[in-house]
Amino acid sequence: MDSAQRRLVGLYLDDMLTSDQLVELESWLQVSPVNLHWFTKELLLHDRLQAEIVAGAVVQSLPAIPSESKPPRPHSGSHWKSAWRPTFATISLLLISLIGTLIFWNGFVGTSASAASTELNLLMTANASMTARTYQIAVEDVALHAGKKRRNVPEDQRNRPPKPPMDDAVLHVRGTDHFVLIRTQSDGRKFLTGSDGRISWAIRPDGPVRTSRDLNRFSRDLPGHEHSMTFLNIGETLRQLQQAYDIRVLPEESNSYQVPAAAAERLLVAIRKRKAPGPDRVEISYESRTGEIRQIRLVEMPYGPERLTLRMTLLDRADFGASYFKHSQHHDADRVVLEE
């Protein structure tokens, strides 16, 4: 099912369609019974979801039935006991949290650093040969930096237009320095940035095409760029993770429901060490047999004034060839090109 049509249905369910989009959805439904079938399935899930959650809430809100065998609580004459009860409760909660955390971490495969290191080496070796790849980027959450102040932002940057949204962007990568990042603006027009390994470039929907011999000039919007963790060079990024993050590997079955009928996957979780820069957490899903990385999730990643949580899902490993990464492949020949 086309993701654009799924999005239309999602907007319809959430009552966010415009009249034009409603017409588009109606046309799509009239095209094929398959579309109608998919729509009805989606509605069944949506409707049942509401019933389940309401039912769950009803169950949770039912008052507890007092046990008959339980003697009534004797009146406590000591005032300090009741005064300290919240503190005891807090301490108990902390202890429970601590025990829970220990159990959580014990659930990981190979709690030792060496086991995690072995997995990282497997990933580095396996992905060294994966030169060409295409990722779909999905932004799960956007938050502003806590306490971030704009007064130190230079005047020219303060009036800068907002960055094109990263959600639904597509990232093509080849080698360690070729990329094309395609983002879609809210008006539906594309904003492309890229690098052919020699020149970096940016193509706005209007205005001149900008190029630079500084390869970092237009790669700043790549996820993880601010801390040199762009995953263009997977080996380098993994080495950085090894140094600045605590690495653990989740057992296969814990994540298996997300990949029906697919090869078993493992999840490597890297938690940022204190004071180290970068996303709070990096999760890498990979095929346990081959080590091929399928998905990278960056949690609370610094991105300008915001902190993003985003997913990069491997779509394809097709090699589009070196010429695809030249800016001339992505705009009309008569566009003005400015070198900076």
């Binding site: 369609l17 109606e26 019974p33 069944l44 899930l45 949506h46 769950g56 809430a57 959450d141 009928a261």
Partner: protein, 223 residues
């Protein structure tokens, strides 16, 4: 009639007393109607019969068909409170018109037909500034729901379990959207996010749940 309360009704209030096929005994019993589900809260003493066999069959059929009828109504009106109101009316209409149901034909299309009439009446009463499908598409959607199996093997039986796999933020979003019936614009204000981001997150949650349900169904059936 409020759909929020568990009201007590009599069987006689639900059915036409002149219809001897349905109303065998008029005995006051507590009946709960919630979201179109009819639940007999207390059974009569052994030997006494409250409803005849035909009504029992209809109730059984309605219980199976109700999730699909509910989804059909949601597909047109979208708002869960409005869906609940219509579903109640449909449940009562189904019981009132059992004499018009031809047992040799499938029950679901008949119930969806009744629901379709009630949805149309509702839309006529409602303000017209909200976007709804045109009549032609409504008919197509109704027809698509009429052909659904009342118990789909792909079924959402695993939904509850899959909901537990969601992380706490996703569960919160589900609670706001589905438990509290908030639209993404309102959720966005509470969560400090853009409405579009909320809507996309909800879409992802549904995708994730669907994948989980399918996987669990495959694991259960082996294919």
């Amino acid at each position: 009639m409020s759909n929020k309360n568990q009201d007590y009704h009599t069987v006689s209030a639900l059915k036409n007393p002149e219809n001897a096929q349905i109303c065998v005994f008029v005995i006051r019993i507590p009946v709960m109607i919630r979201r179109g589900r009819l639940i007999l809260r207390e059974l009569p003493p052994t030997g006494a019969s409250i409803v005849d066999e035909n009504t029992r069959k209809i109730l059984r059929q309605w219980t199976l068909a109700q999730p699909v009828v509910s989804a059909f109504i949601t597909s047109i009106v979208r708002d869960f409170s409005e869906r609940d109101d219509i579903l109640q009316e449909v449940a009562i209409a189904v019981l009132e018109h059992t004499d018009r149901y031809n047992e040799s034909r499938p029950f679901l299309p008949w119930a969806i037909g009744i629901a379709q009439n009630h949805v149309r009446q509702f839309l006529r009463r409602r303000r017209s500034d909200r976007l709804v499908f045109g009549d032609g598409v409504q008919d197509l959607v109704a027809a698509a729901f009429q052909t659904m199996a009342t118990h789909d093997p792909e079924a959402l039986d695993h939904l509850r379990e899959c909901l537990r796999h969601l992380d706490s933020r996703e569960q919160l979003m589900c609670e706001l959207r589905y438990g509290q019936n908030l639209k993404p614009a309102v959720m966005a204000e509470r969560l400090g996010m853009a409405a579009n981001t909320v809507s996309k997150a909800l879409q992802r949650i549904r995708d994730q749940l669907r994948a989980c349900i399918q996987h669990k169904s495959v694991m259960k059936t082996g294919h």
